[in-house]
Symmetry: C2
Subunit: 203 residues, 2 copies
């Protein structure tokens, strides 16, 4: 079960829920590109851009919820009155690009020299491994918020590093070498397809 705190880190009883802040679990809102947008919103904007322009079809999966109780206060509207956040069993994003299956997770850190492995769950790595076995394209988008740098990092490398590294984090220098840095744009803000294209050309 995911523990969901409010962006300022404190727990609030019955406070109005702000959907745009939900992704900011257990941490503060990190601004992306100083446009008042979170990293997740920037990815969603990029997905929307790609979809509108017929370039790829990638959607964020809904947050998995365990529903316990549903009321019907009105004739036409079912109201969920008791539910809990569940741990996702896959990554957050997937879709199709030129017939290829894309699958990725987006994570961010305030660290400046490394990316903690604690950002990734075992089941997500297992899922990415299964995707790779099926010849899908799996990766993570890593955002260093204080550096305002975004990297495309292949799942193959992440899994390898996670399994073999004696450290508790990925070194930025390794990410720079094994990943592809993305240049943040106006639209799409996170042009991840550029990295996919580079990898498809070299495969």
């Amino acid at each position: 079960m995911i523990i969901c705190n409010y962006p300022n880190g404190s727990k609030v009883q019955g406070k109005k829920y702000q959907p745009e802040n939900f992704s900011q679990k257990k941490r503060q809102v990190i601004e992306f590109g100083k446009r008042g947008m979170s990293f997740e919103e920037a990815i969603n904007q990029s997905n929307a851009y790609y979809l509108t322009h017929g370039l790829c079809v990638v959607h964020k999966k809904p947050t998995p919820i365990q529903i316990v109780k549903v009321d019907y206060p009105q004739r036409s509207k079912a109201k969920i009155s008791e539910a809990y956040f569940k741990q996702a069993s896959t990554t957050d994003y997937n879709g199709v690009y030129k017939g290829k299956y894309l699958d990725f997770e987006a994570k961010e850190t305030k660290q400046k020299t490394s990316f903690p492995f604690s950002n990734f769950h075992q089941h997500q790595l297992k899922h990415m491994e299964a995707v790779l076995e099926q010849k899908g394209i799996a990766f993570v988008l890593l955002f260093f918020s204080r550096l305002q740098r975004v990297f495309y990092y292949p799942a193959e490398k992440l899994i390898e590093q996670y399994r073999t590294s004696k450290r508790k984090s990925l070194k930025l220098s390794d990410i720079e070498q094994e990943g592809i840095e993305l240049t943040i744009k106006i639209a799409p803000q996170i042009p991840y397809l550029e990295a996919v294209d580079i990898l498809l050309r070299t495969c």
Copy 2:
């Protein structure tokens, strides 16, 4: 907003929610294969079988929920106390098979000679169209509960029929001709990869 009725068609105030029945929106529980399993459960079982055997990676997307209010009655557990069902913007299932992107929706009917178009939403057809443009494999699994027959029906045909037909439903005879009937098994119960293989061989 989806209207969610209980399986018996009546609306109940504050009744304990049964997750396994949620998929049965606005209709009765239809047994699949007389094993006390719903069609959706049979597909989930098939996906689990395929995943375990390393044959494909397909998951059902979580039901999209609009969260309005979250309480923190305990230190470690966020409780959603007000939320509503949202209309999904894509199909329910997607994943990867031998590098190919798979995308499908599963529907059932009690009709015996045709499958009503009303089972499909505009946005789902639009999504399937976008997937096809990206060269993904999109289809629907159609279950005739009274006949206990399951068909793989390509999204291309569904979209064509939906746009051109003067009828309000797909004729079973057309489905028989343009689709692929799946033989229900013990495991996987709905062997949809067999139909994908047939289509990949002929493409």
